[in-house]
Every structure is written in structure tokens, then in C-alpha cells.
């Protein structure tokens, strides 16, 4: 490039070649106006791996988390995750990977699954209209009609099977899901998040990293907390990700929800689940453990929750700052839509804030991750030991009723170790919090083993599995 084009670029904002509206799902059309963002968006198809992140390059012998860490098969015994559980990949794969997982092909799944694996704004609104919601598809998403359509359509998919909803979805996450087509402003469009963040705002959990919620509370909690009108731009730069990178319940027994009603900390989420009653009055759990008989909770990718406990969120650093850094494209700075591991582009992702060499930053991340990983293996060892003890106890004749108290230990311990494992930064998003959670996991698992020895002759239990 020469100076003339530099100067031209500097002036150019973007050419409006096509008109975008609430019905434009296809990112390629948006790409006509925003070729840079579209180009990078498409690059999420590139395979890569880092020491703990990414997946799918030849460097990683297997993309299967189960083969890489066979303890997980024991931990998830009786649940779909025991048959197929892989490393995440780029956004481009989200639809495909979900359709192809054995969790879907070999087990019945709800249409709610689609919530985070496709561009649903139009899909939901169309279904909502069919279900009798008011208005039409042209109305801006912020209108109350459109919101009603969105919600009605979403609820409809939760009552449908995955196989019914699948064919309706056309694209992985698309521009429309995060942007207003008229202003390009960020917005949240996922019903689970819209409800979840309002529930969080109503809780008492202190959220210094989400100042607009603190303000809404101070001003008397009027109406609902609406991120799209109340959150700052910097908060939106994380909230668009929090639409999907969160712990959730998504199954046949209730409409998908984010469990944030007590707050974002692991104990608060656990307490919400423990207090939650299914329609039949029984207590919440995701599955009955096939080996031990315990009723346990499954954790899924709590990135938003874990980030919330770290120092970066407190310092106002958003997901996008690290995962969608600004890239100089000629004279312009644009947000990289090649969402990926920041370790693949440390210069842009970290160095604007940290004035140290890239190797040093990488070493800091890996120090944190190595510590988390070692402690996680320790905690998994303890949980698996408890499960095998329970197995032996059952063989020795104890039934679920007799083991009730010990099952609680497994529920607590397993929930904690799974939470850190399912979180996709190997502890980086909140290093001390991840270690704290794992410390508790160890304690509960080992306490369970100790208590069990009051009920069963220790000689009948397996020898101690150790780290």
C-alpha cells in the first residue's frame, strides 16, 4: 500500500453497498458492506491448537476429551457426555459439530440446543409469529412485538425435538445475532441471556464488573434490566459472548435457562440448582450417575461466570478485548472477527495492555494453566475414587437410600471439578478462583470417601487412588 491509499482508507468508513435489515441472516450479504469483518469472520474455520486451547490440528493427537482424559468417562457415566465429548472448534463449526455429535445422533435432545449453535433471530421470530405473537418480521428487534415473537418462538423450540428444529437453522452465529443491522451497534438477541441477565440483576451478588447493573439496582430496580438499552459499550463487548459461553440447563424437563438468580459464583449457581424443583416436585439434577447412583449436576462452559471472578473483568477488560482484538487493516482499525485463542495473536490481544514480550506473556498464561491442570487432575482422581468406592458399596449391598449422604458429596465434588474442566481457559480467566474451586472439589470427594467408611467395611473398598 502507498500513502495515497493509506489516506483514502483513513477517511473511508464503509461503503453501503447493500441494505441490511432484520431479515438479513446470511453473513455474506453483510460482508458486502463490511468486507474486512466478514473476511476475518470466515477464518474461524481455520484449525489450530495451543497447549490447552483450540483443537483439530495435527498437533493434537485426538480432539476427543474422553480419550485424552479417560477419567471423564467415569465421571460422566450414564450421561450423553460419556459417549462423545470433544474440544471446541471455531465458530464456523458450531452447527455442524452439534449435528454430528453422538450426544445428538445417539440420544434424544431438545430443540433448545439450537439456542447457541445457530443464528436464530429470524428463526425464532418466524416461529413466534406462527404461534400467534403480534406484529411482523420487519419491526426492529427492540420493539415489544419483536421481543414477543422472539420469546414465543424460542419457547416453541424448547418443546420441539432437536431433529425438528435442526433443519430450520441456516447459519452458525451470524452478524444479526450481535449487531443491529441499521446502526451496527452491539446487541444481545438470545432469549436465554435476556432473561438470565435480568435474573442476575435482581440478585444480590455484587457485580463490580457490570456497572450498569449496579446502577440499575441503585436506581430502584425499575422494570426489567435490559442490556440493550442499559449496558455500556464495554459491557456489551462481553455480553454478546455471554449469550452462549455460559453454564445453562437445556433439557426436556424445562425451558432452557441460565442459573444466575442468586449470582454468578459457583456456590450461588449450585444453590439455585439445589433449590430448584422440577414440575413433579423433585429436586434438580442433570442425570443419575450410572455407577454410583448419585443425582448430579453437569456444568457447561461457564466462561462468562469465571471471567466475572477474575481480575480482568474487574479491570474492565472484555472478552472482545482479548478474543477480537483490533487489527490494523491499512489505515483502519477493525475488530478481528476471527474469534480464537488470544495466544495465537498475543501482540494484538495482550500487548496493547501488557508492555512485555510475547514469550513472557505466553509463559505467564502457561504457568497459570499448568497449575490449574495439575490440580484438576488431582481433583478428578479424588472424584473418580469416590465413584469407585460407591460402586463397591453398592456391590456390598447398600442401596441409594443408605448412600444418600455420600451421594451429596459426589454431587458437590463433581460439580466443582466439572465446572473448571468445562470452562474453556484452563483457569486463565480467573486463576485463583479456579484453584479454590478445585480445592473444594478435592475436599468433598475425599470427605465422601471417609464418611462411606463408616457405612462399609474399608476392606471391601478399593485401595486408595492417589496423586
Amino acid at each position: 500500500a502507498n500513502i495515497n491509499t493509506r489516506k483514502a482508507e483513513a477517511l473511508q468508513t464503509s461503503l453501503r453497498l447493500v441494505d441490511l435489515d432484520e431479515t438479513t441472516v446470511d453473513p455474506a450479504i453483510w460482508g458486502k458492506n463490511f468486507p474486512r469483518q466478514f473476511d476475518s469472520y470466515q477464518r474461524t474455520i481455520e484449525p489450530y491448537h495451543t497447549k490447552y486451547g483450540g483443537a483439530g490440528s495435527e498437533g493434537v493427537p485426538t480432539s476427543s476429551k474422553l480419550e485424552q482424559d479417560p477419567m471423564l468417562k467415569t465421571i460422566f457415566a450414564g450421561y450423553a457426555f460419556a459417549i462423545d465429548y470433544n474440544h471446541r472448534r471455531g465458530h464456523a463449526y458450531m452447527l455442524e459439530d452439534q449435528k454430528m455429535t453422538k450426544r445428538v445422533t445417539e440420544r434424544p435432545q431438545s430443540g433448545a440446543c439450537m439456542h447457541c449453535h445457530a443464528s436464530n433471530v429470524v428463526l425464532y421470530r418466524e416461529l413466534g409469529l406462527k404461534k400467534g405473537a403480534p406484529g411482523d418480521l420487519k419491526e426492529p428487534l427492540s420493539s415489544s412485538n419483536a421481543q414477543a415473537q422472539l420469546q414465543a418462538g424460542f419457547e416453541a423450540t424448547c418443546a420441539m425435538t432437536y431433529q425438528e428444529v435442526g433443519p430450520l437453522a441456516k447459519h452458525p452465529v451470524a452478524c444479526l445475532d450481535c449487531h443491529d443491522p441499521k446502526t451496527m451497534a452491539l446487541r444481545v438477541t438470545k432469549p436465554g441471556f435476556i432473561k438470565g441477565i435480568d435474573a442476575l440483576a435482581r440478585s444480590n451478588d455484587s457485580v463490580p464488573h457490570l456497572p450498569s447493573i449496579e446502577r440499575w439496582r441503585r436506581e430502584g430496580k425499575k422494570g426489567t434490566y435490559d442490556a440493550n438499552t442499559m449496558a455500556s459499550r464495554q459491557e456489551m463487548r462481553s455480553m454478546v459472548c455471554g449469550q452462549c459461553h455460559v453454564e445453562y440447563y437445556c433439557g426436556p424437563k424445562a425451558t432452557l435457562f441460565f442459573p444466575w438468580h442468586n449470582g454468578l459464583k459457583i456456590e450461588q449457581v449450585e444453590a439455585y440448582y439445589n433449590d430448584y424443583k422440577w414440575k413433579d416436585g423433585t429436586r434438580f439434577s442433570d442425570y443419575k450417575h450410572a455407577i454410583s447412583g448419585a443425582e448430579v449436576i453437569k456444568a457447561q462452559h461457564p466462561e462468562f461466570e469465571m471471567w466475572s471472578q477474575g481480575v480482568h473483568s474487574r479491570a474492565g477488560v472484555s472478552c472482545s478485548d482479548c478474543h477480537m482484538p483490533y487489527v490494523r487493516d491499512g489505515a483502519l482499525k477493525v475488530s478481528s472477527h476471527h474469534v480464537q485463542s488470544p495466544l495465537r495473536d498475543i501482540t494484538r490481544s495482550c500487548q496493547p495492555c501488557h508492555r512485555v514480550p510475547a514469550d513472557e506473556l505466553k509463559a505467564r498464561v502457561e504457568t497459570i494453566q499448568d497449575r490449574t491442570h495439575a490440580l484438576m487432575m488431582r481433583a478428578e482422581t479424588a472424584v473418580v475414587a469416590l465413584i469407585h468406592d460407591l460402586e463397591a458399596a453398592k456391590k456390598a449391598g447398600l442401596n441409594d437410600a443408605a448412600l444418600k449422604e455420600i451421594h451429596e458429596f459426589q454431587r458437590k465434588a463433581q460439580w466443582r471439578v466439572d465446572y473448571v474442566n468445562a470452562e474453556n481457559s484452563m483457569g486463565f480467566h480467573a486463576p485463583q478462583e479456579a484453584a479454590r474451586i478445585l480445592g473444594e472439589a478435592v475436599d468433598y470427594a475425599r470427605q465422601g470417601q471417609i464418611e462411606l467408611r463408616r457405612l462399609v467395611d474399608p476392606a471391601k473398598l478399593p485401595t486408595l487412588a492417589r496423586k
Binding site: 502507498n2 500513502i3 493509506r6 501482540t347 495492555c353 514480550p357 513472557e360
Partner: protein, 165 residues
């Protein structure tokens, strides 16, 4: 004496021009307001949009009223040093700007960090005299690390350009 000095100046001015030509060619020089580069006005620096962030930061920094870019970023020990640094920086800036081949984010080079530190002391030498009585703070001690970790800017990073994070 005076003759000698203006000869030196002439030589140096030529060197600067040559530096900028070598880095970018005459076209760049004119187009990028090469001549105004010789001035001390901060606006000169934002002739390059690349310097926009620093310029904006300086506007919000604590030194806007008391120090221009060149007060901090050019040597003031003697005019020859000043012009030499100006020439070599001019070369790098023009080259970087034209080829688009420079680190992003831009980072101060170790040699320029030393210049910077000397300027802090030029204005604040007295107040920091007890600290510098046994050596300056800004000496790089580890070849893999930059000088900036150890100098005044280790703590006062934001004086020039406001908060960095």
C-alpha cells in the same frame, strides 16, 4: 567556531533529508509533510495517523501544558545528538509508514527509552536526585527485557499519554 557549527548543522540537515529519502523516497517526504517534521509542534506528529493514539493520549495526559512530544522524545543534551536522533527516527518512521511494516502496537525502542528517561531527569532531576544518586533507574539489566521496565516509566508510564489500561 560558528562556521564549524553551521557546517555541522548543514551536514546533519542533509543527513535527515537523506534519511527520509532513503526511508521513503521523495514522494513520501512531500506527501507526508516531511518538511514539517522538522518542527517541534505536536501537530506535526499526527500528520501520521499512526501517531493519533499517542497524540490523543498526550492531550489527556498530565504533561500537555508543560511538554511537547519532542521535549520527551528528543535528546536535549546537545543539538547534534538531537538532530541525529531526529534523523534516524525520521528514517524509521517514514520507512515504517510507507511499508506498513512496523510492530502493532508500536513500542518505544530501547535507545529511545534512554532518551526519554534522560528527559524526565532534565526536568525532574532535582526531585529525584536521591534516587539517582546511586545510578539511574532506567538501565536495562536483562537483554530479553526492555529498559522501560526499570525506569521512571515503570511507575509513571501514563505521564505522557494518560492511562494505558
Amino acid at each position: 567556531m560558528r562556521g564549524k557549527r553551521s557546517l555541522l548543522l548543514l551536514t546533519l540537515a542533509t543527513a535527515i533529508l537523506l534519511g527520509m529519502f532513503a526511508g521513503s523516497g521523495a514522494y513520501t517526504f512531500v506527501s507526508a509533510h516531511g518538511l514539517s517534521y522538522m518542527s517541534d509542534d505536536p501537530k506535526v506528529c499526527v500528520n501520521c495517523h499512526i501517531m493519533r493514539e499517542e497524540y490523543d493520549g498526550w492531550q489527556h495526559g498530565s504533561h500537555k501544558a508543560v511538554a511537547t512530544c519532542n521535549d520527551c522524545h528528543l535528546p536535549h543534551d546537545n543539538v547534534i545528538h538531537k538532530l541525529y536522533v531526529k534523523a534516524s527516527n525520521g528514517y524509521y518512521h517514514a520507512k515504517g509508514f510507507t511499508t506498513g511494516n512496523f510492530p502493532d502496537p508500536i513500542r518505544i525502542k530501547a535507545s529511545n527509552a534512554e532518551v526519554l528517561e534522560a528527559n524526565c531527569l532534565r526536568c525532574h532531576g532535582e526531585i529525584s536526585s536521591e534516587l539517582t544518586a546511586h545510578g539511574t533507574l532506567g538501565v536495562p539489566t536483562d537483554p530479553t527485557r526492555k529498559a522501560d521496565l526499570y525506569g521512571c516509566v515503570r511507575c509513571h508510564l501514563e505521564v505522557g499519554h494518560g492511562p494505558v489500561r
